[in-house]
């Protein structure tokens, strides 16, 4: 095992901050390349006109998932040292619903709002201010939410553990679902484009 390099003492915290900046540049670059600095492009996912959100998200997930899986199998990456956010299924289900509503209303998610603000979108800058205000509001109200935040605590849990099947099988299933989803997404885009051509909406 030689990775994760930072956790095995190959470099210190200062270096990891430089790496953070460089990786962030890569992330931001490809977010903007995908068109995710544009709220109209992002929310088109929810009106079924342009499913780039799904396509980009799942090709990123499949790429990183296959990467960590192969590196772990090859004995290069110790997956147990990669941080896994603990599962609290109740606040995560509830938080996801609020986030989905906020995505369509606000037009961005936190990461894409940074890309939109960087490329001059005024609405992106206002979204960033709203997110900052909301974070402050949540912090002030957080004692009230303590019970909900701790509900459904399952600890760090993976899908293979929860389903009681092998890691490889779930990886295979995700790849299969993604490929079928890509084909389905393109079919939906074509169908909606044909419908719009007849009765523009």
């Amino acid at each position: 095992m030689i990775a994760p390099l930072g956790k095995l003492g190959y470099f210190g915290d200062e270096t990891s901050l430089v790496i953070a900046l460089v990786i962030g540049i890569g992330f931001g670059f490809f977010l903007e390349r995908a068109g995710f600095g544009s709220a109209k492009k992002l929310v088109a996912q929810f009106y079924l006109r342009d499913l780039a959100v799904f396509k980009v998200m799942f090709s990123a997930i499949v790429t990183a998932m296959l990467g960590v899986t192969y590196l772990a199998w090859a004995g290069i990456l110790d997956l147990s040292l990669v941080y896994l956010v603990p599962t609290y299924w109740i606040p995560q289900l509830f938080g996801g619903l609020i986030l989905g509503v906020g995505f369509v209303v606000g037009g961005y998610c936190p990461g894409t709002s940074i890309a939109s603000a960087a490329t001059g979108r005024i609405d992106g800058i206002v979204y960033v201010l709203g997110f900052a205000a909301g974070t402050l509001g949540f912090a002030v109200m957080s004692p009230v939410f303590d019970g909900l935040l701790q509900a459904g605590d399952l600890g760090p849990t993976t899908l293979p553990q929860a389903l009681g099947v092998g890691h490889g099988l779930v990886v295979f299933a995700v790849v299969a679902v993604a490929i079928a989803g890509f084909a389905g997404a393109s079919w939906i885009e074509r169908t909606m484009a044909a419908r719009d051509a007849v009765a523009p909406k």
């Binding site: 962030g24 980009v56 890509f182």
Partner: protein, 179 residues
């Protein structure tokens, strides 16, 4: 700075193929796993920023608040955090990509049936909602859906499915904002 002068600007280039852009993001995410043993994120940087601001104004309150205290440490500056540097990189990377593709311009993204003021008000409201959602879920689309999704994290997949459910549930109601 010719790129920022409208009459000298070339027309914006088309966006990159979504699968290629997705692979690019996936490689950045994989690099984070391999190099530092953690994934990407965005909302965590906002948490650090707010913790820093509050600790400057009301240090005792910030230390007593469990949510904020998680982003404060005695021997290190709150902004000296991995996600703060990563998000600074996201801003720079998006700006570089936008300039290269002639896509940097002051604008407001909105549908034809909503005023600029209306759209900006909804952008703010959406940001506030998302801050609550991300705080409940312990992460946002980057830190939970993308990062946890590729690690096959159970909570991340629950979260991801509910994002799409919430978005599709409300899309028809707010259609005047976009279409």
């Amino acid at each position: 700075m010719d790129l920022l002068v409208p009459h000298k600007r070339s027309p914006p280039q088309p966006y990159t193929n979504p699968y290629l852009a997705g692979i690019g993001i996936g490689v950045a995410l994989l690099a984070a796993f391999v190099l530092v043993g953690r994934g990407l994120g965005a909302s965590g940087a906002f948490n650090s920023g707010i913790a820093w601001l509050v600790s400057g104004v009301a240090p005792d309150y910030a230390r007593a608040n469990r949510f904020l205290a998680g982003y404060l440490s005695e021997d290190s500056h709150p902004l000296k955090a991995w996600l703060v540097f990563e998000v600074a990189g996201v801003f720079a990377g998006a700006l570089i990509s936008g300039l290269l593709a002639h896509r940097v311009a002051a604008s407001v993204e909105r549908g034809p049936r909503i005023s600029i003021a209306g759209r900006l008000a909804l952008a703010f409201v959406g940001g506030v909602l998302m801050a609550f959602g991300a705080a409940f879920a312990r992460g946002c689309t980057s830190g939970q859906a993308l990062t946890g999704g590729s690690l096959l994290n159970l909570g991340s997949w629950i979260f991801m499915l509910s994002i799409f459910a919430g978005g599709y549930a409300v899309a028809w109601i707010v259609r005047r904002e976009w279409r």
